[in-house]
Assembly symmetry: C2
Homo-oligomer: 407 residues x 2
């Protein structure tokens, strides 16, 4: 039996827990730490496959939740899986649908069996269990599939969390949707009990996920550590999760409404509890500073909808901080978003003034160009992070990325 995923660490940082290496799947290999942009419904919003490739991204996400509802996982399987369906020849990961079932659905019933929710498309009642989530992900066919976990919202920041049509959450409201959370806020005591329950149930469900996995020679199942911001619970969850031998492990439940400090505290505590020789994936994070802190804590994989979601709204990421292209100050600006950037948008010579015009005129090309730039921005961050690890040159790195100093 050939392992469908290999993870080779070729350099461990001298001064931090960071490591640089390479993950190889049946669809190719890519360097780590890696940033994975999100193609929610087997399409990256407004961005073509060629444009994704132009950012040097070689690993992307699909959302099992969206695809199981439309066009359905069974239909994607009839097309030979999502790689073939969306014509993406490189590596791919699917999430389990658990997070979106909780965050994007109107009615959710949680039992030991699974989660029952209403389809956001036609209101029909859908039961998602560990077995069904894995079946769905086996049908979609991504290289890495995620355990179906119990992912409760964080206690204090629930109402600030937001989830949009890409199914991703972020830890800030910057550029985010205004869709309010529909979850009732629990009392601190009830939330603590809920977190304990989630940790224990996530572990029980992980056993069921592993048992249900029908394509272990093609797809690699990752487990997910829960526990909210309670470090003792994180330790308990890490122990339960890593007790099950899997090709990789993720830290979940940290981009559901916390601030940067909480994310950092949880990640710095949890990452070292995961096996050194397996990829560590921090789900749904995030901003540049969050990614850098997590890399230094030993995390290898990241995904986030920020580049595309913000890009569509005219928010561009740059090394010196965000640029809001609708602002009138850009009207006559001939400079590109970032003169040092090699993306299609910047190297193509598109001026900030032209980009502003596209957003003011409602031309979707604006969202496309800025999304491509934003994805490339995060890929360049990862390139520089990998150099910093290999050369133990963090202070040089931070000088190149002033945005990391922003409060």
């Amino acid at each position: 039996m050939t392992a469908p995923l290999t993870f080779d660490i070729d350099h461990a940082c001298q001064s931090t827990h960071a490591r640089a290496g390479r993950i190889t799947t049946l669809h190719g290999s890519f360097e780590t730490p890696v940033f994975m942009p999100v193609a929610t419904a087997a399409a990256m919003k407004g961005v073509s496959v060629e444009q994704i490739e132009s950012t040097s991204s070689r690993m992307i996400l699909n959302n099992a939740y969206h695809l199981m509802l439309r066009p359905t996982a069974e239909r994607i399987a009839q097309f030979g899986g999502s790689h073939e369906f969306m014509r993406w020849p490189h590596s791919m990961l699917t999430d389990s649908g658990g997070f979106q079932a909780w965050s994007m659905s109107d009615i959710v019933t949680l039992t030991e069996e699974g989660v029952r929710f209403r389809s956001f498309i036609d209101g029909s009642s859908i039961m998602l269990t560990p077995e069904r989530s894995i079946e769905v992900q086996n049908l979609i066919g991504a290289d890495i599939i995620m355990a179906f976990d119990d992912c409760p919202p964080s206690v204090s920041k629930t109402s600030e969390s937001d989830v949009d049509e890409e199914g991703g959450a972020t830890s800030s409201d910057e550029g985010g949707s205004t869709r309010p959370s529909k979850k009732a806020t629990l009392s601190p005591e009830a939330h603590a009990r809920r977190l304990i329950e989630a940790v224990e149930r996530t572990a029980r469900w992980l056993e069921r996920c592993k048992a249900a996995h029908q394509r272990p020679t093609e797809q690699s199942l990752f487990g997910i550590v829960q526990g909210g911001t309670d470090l003792a619970l994180r330790a308990r969850s890490a122990a339960l999760t890593t007790a099950i031998d899997l090709p990789g492990y993720a830290i979940g439940g940290v981009a559901v409404g916390e601030g940067t400090d909480d994310i950092r505290r949880v990640v710095e505590f949890t990452a070292p509890l995961l096996p050194r020789d397996r990829p560590r994936y921090l789900m749904g994070v995030g901003y540049e500073r969050d990614i850098v802190a997590a890399v230094r804590a030993g995390v290898d994989m990241f995904d986030c909808v920020l580049p595309t979601r913000n890009g569509r709204k005219g928010y561009a990421f740059t090394r010196s901080g965000p640029v809001r292209l609708r602002n009138a100050c850009h009207t006559l600006e001939k400079a590109p978003l970032d003169p040092s950037c090699d993306c299609l948008c910047c190297a193509g010579g598109y001026s900030r003034g032209y980009l502003r015009h596209l957003f003011m005129a409602g031309e979707s090309l604006g969202g496309t160009l800025v999304s491509v730039h934003n994805i490339r921005h995060f890929q360049r961050l990862m390139v520089d992070i990998r150099v910093a690890i290999r050369e133990d040159a963090w202070s040089t790195f931070e000088g190149q990325w002033p945005v990391l100093q922003a409060v």
Copy 2:
């Protein structure tokens, strides 16, 4: 003084009035007969410059009407003109804004001086005169600019004409917007008087346009023949227009609500009245059959919003006729739109089933892929037309394009 446009006819069809040749501008050359896709607001809706280039298009349109209102022609000039603004290195044409001022504005007052209308953006009152239209087009800087003409709607079909946000009209409601015409229908007698007035005024305005043109060594001004479906008036307009020496001439007012038969009758009558040694441009046309008929009548240049406007709505053009991708019959279809097509979408292996999924899921990538296919469809039509002219092989050509036989 270097001529900013050369037109070389290298083959005249043996059996029709068609000719094959080449137009060269200061931004490159392209073969004729040519199809020019439309980038209304200095952006092709949902299609990047690289994607336009992938269709082999080397000549596109901008709409002066849209650009003069937003971001304004003066601002585009500050960026070095539209070529530089939108990063389009090849040839470009702007229309004069007259047609859109009539068709897209709520209040229009026509005087000998010009047209007064309300901006569709902020309701402000705008006066567009021949001098101002040419000034706007000089500022935008396209290789070919169009005379500001008096372009009345056709008498009987006005309410079926439609104009959308791309500012283009088509002679059919297929895939078109539902925006109703706001023009009052004139009596046949009043319409006839109106057409005569338009022909005479268009000629007077053409003199003013030529006199106002400030960049004749860089931009080529084309005159426009009006006259509706009245052939005597067409003859009068052609005589008045061609009496003024210009690098090219257009047939206007034929895509404003007529049927295919009227378009063909007018074009077959009018095209031979235009100088043989100058490019002949049929504005706003159209479907494949209309283009082929006009080529056979001696027309060299075409533009239309159909490829992009229909593409965004999930209507694809194929050699055997239109395909409506939202139809359920495509759900499991693994074949591409057209197995013989070499566009990014078809040659890229995107299935009809995937394209349908994109439209059902509201993913703008669907509009992008089908727009690119549709543009390439028209460019392949032009390639085959040029072969048919050079080889006098029209029956072979028609066998390759079954859609031409459709009623």
